[in-house]
Symmetry: C2
Subunit: 348 residues, 2 copies
């Protein structure tokens, strides 16, 4: 592989080394055409400004990557801000990469580790089925955070995992709605087709609660976000609720497995002339900041976002520096009774 030096670039462009330097450093004292020619040549030959003094400094640079499965999910936006703050405290930089729903985050991580000087990886959200063999190939420590359940056949010594018990917390929310007298409880879920995803676990919690209370599951009340949509966006919640309403099944409560989905769904209810909570009680999951400011404020399951995000970053740094082994931490969530859900009106 030809690795050009700054002298090679100067020679190729027929200019002096100092002119190449001016082009690279975006110095104003250079003819724009010459500059363009130099920058194109640099791009073409893959030259990387690379003197040894710089490299010495650079070898101190420490970075981790955060791979997020979940665009447009405000829950993650908040987690990312907190994780970045922890990185800064440790003088780490943070690379951020969003993974499309149909991309494989472990493949992506492998590519990143090969290309970059990464010390560790955080997987945020949407962990699906990966083989132990594949995870073993990752040559830096990694922590799964709010990523659902990791398959039992993967050795726990390989990875850390931080989150809440999604199945149990989801069940708690549905129990609460049942306790308010609701029997016809609709649910909006996303990614529930996929292994032990958070979507799947939250749907299982819904089934658990109904079963325990002797309420038969009505498949017409289980509404899946279209797989073509961004799973946890407001738009997805809005369209799912439209579909649910068009289906014609009656319900007195609607539980969405993410606050963003619930907020979108509330808009669809409003447009259908239904009032929250007078006609339909609505509840969400996550406890994003917004859920507290909209009116009616959203009844939800609050994950300890701040605590989880801080611990995710700190744990990764501790593993990198050998202070701790891999951990598997389950936090308690909190049911927040707010304005969007109320006791069912039995006169209706």
């Amino acid at each position: 592989m030809f690795e050009p030096t700054i002298k090679d670039i100067a020679r190729l462009c027929g200019v002096g080394v100092s002119t190449v330097s001016r082009a690279i450093n975006n110095h104003p004292d250079i003819n724009p055409e010459t500059k363009e020619k130099i920058l194109r040549t640099i791009e073409e030959y893959g030259y990387v400004p690379n003197n040894s003094a710089r490299n010495l400094k650079r070898s101190d640079a420490k970075a981790i990557a955060v791979l997020v499965k979940g665009m447009s999910n405000l829950f993650f936006a908040n987690m990312i801000e907190i994780i970045e703050g922890e990185c800064k405290k440790k003088h780490y930089s943070m690379e951020l990469s969003y993974i499309e729903a149909d991309e494989d985050e472990v493949d992506m991580a492998q590519r990143l580790v090969k290309e970059k000087r990464l010390r560790g990886i955080i997987f945020l959200g949407g962990m699906f089925a990966h083989s132990e063999e594949k995870l073993k190939k990752l040559s830096v420590p990694f922590v799964f955070s709010t990523a659902g359940a990791i398959p039992e056949n993967i050795s726990k010594s390989l990875y850390s995992n931080i989150g809440v018990d999604d199945r149990r917390e989801s069940r708690r929310m549905v129990d609460y709605l049942i306790g308010l007298g609701h029997r016809r409880i609709a649910i909006i879920v996303a990614e529930a087709e996929e292994g032990q995803s958070i979507g799947r676990l939250r749907l299982e919690g819904y089934y658990d609660a109904l079963r325990e209370s002797g309420i038969e599951v009505n498949p017409g009340l289980v509404c899946h976000v279209s797989q073509k949509m961004i799973p946890f966006s407001m738009e997805s919640g809005y369209l799912a609720a439209k579909k649910l309403l068009a289906g014609g099944e009656e319900f007195t409560a609607l539980y969405a497995v993410a606050d963003t989905l619930a907020i979108g769904a509330e808009r669809a209810l409003y447009e259908a002339g239904l009032s929250v909570p007078d006609d339909v009680s609505v509840s969400g999951y996550d406890g994003i900041e917004l859920a507290n400011y909209i009116t009616p404020s959203l009844t939800t399951v609050r994950q300890p976002i701040e605590k989880m995000a801080r611990e995710t970053a700190r744990l990764l740094f501790d593993i990198i520096s050998g202070k701790r082994q891999h951990q598997h931490i389950v936090y308690e969530a909190e049911l927040l009774e707010r304005e969007s859900a109320k006791a069912v009106d039995l006169r209706k």
Copy 2:
């Protein structure tokens, strides 16, 4: 400076090189105590796994940094997702760093460029007064995006700038409210004390509109977010509106210079027993997705978020590769008439 090799680490720990390798690569076949010892030693002596084969690959890695001034601002969360998508298309990785309100983003950028192999920088939001001298020291190209006005005394050949005309678009919103018959229009602003920040420019637009319509400015209706708060968060809007209401000045319309602030303010109005838009019309600025889903939907000035974010990234890549010179692009925003603002009720 002592730069240890893998052999040094092995010697220091009294183990073989292959054991150090297993510790680094997080291999399960290693005694946990040995592993811990090795990782501690690595941390202590600053060893970086660094064989030449790896480095060859790594020299292809290209990265930019996005420095964001504005925590908890959903507008930026959206921009960041789109910019990251553009980075991926160009095989760049994206480092994300949040700048505290009292931090200097140019100092931060300088530090990052020194430490990392960065090819360019995007400054998102909150550009305040920087000297030309300081900006010249940045040795990679940079683009300011939605960062307010850059002082006139800084050479335009030094930087790119992408955004809307905040003063004009803000004025357009206040003109609209005046057109609806409102005369007592309150405003919630953030960071308006700072030079040509977006907050300042949007406040100037408010003054322009009132002046043009012959409405005297009532200082009791100009409410600044506390400088101790995160400037563009919902909580800040909520607390500012509380303060405004406690001040006792009457108003029929409330304009907040960001949608997040408007949503927080609406909650305060609701808690004070005021209905939007029947008692008070409310409008925001930005056009985040959420503004369309809450009820009443928020009247706002929509910045072309997607277009601006894409162009910010593409322009930076074009400058890096010499395809384009620095650009100064002003996009048109769009006034979205939604449910939260209506004509003033003259009978009141």
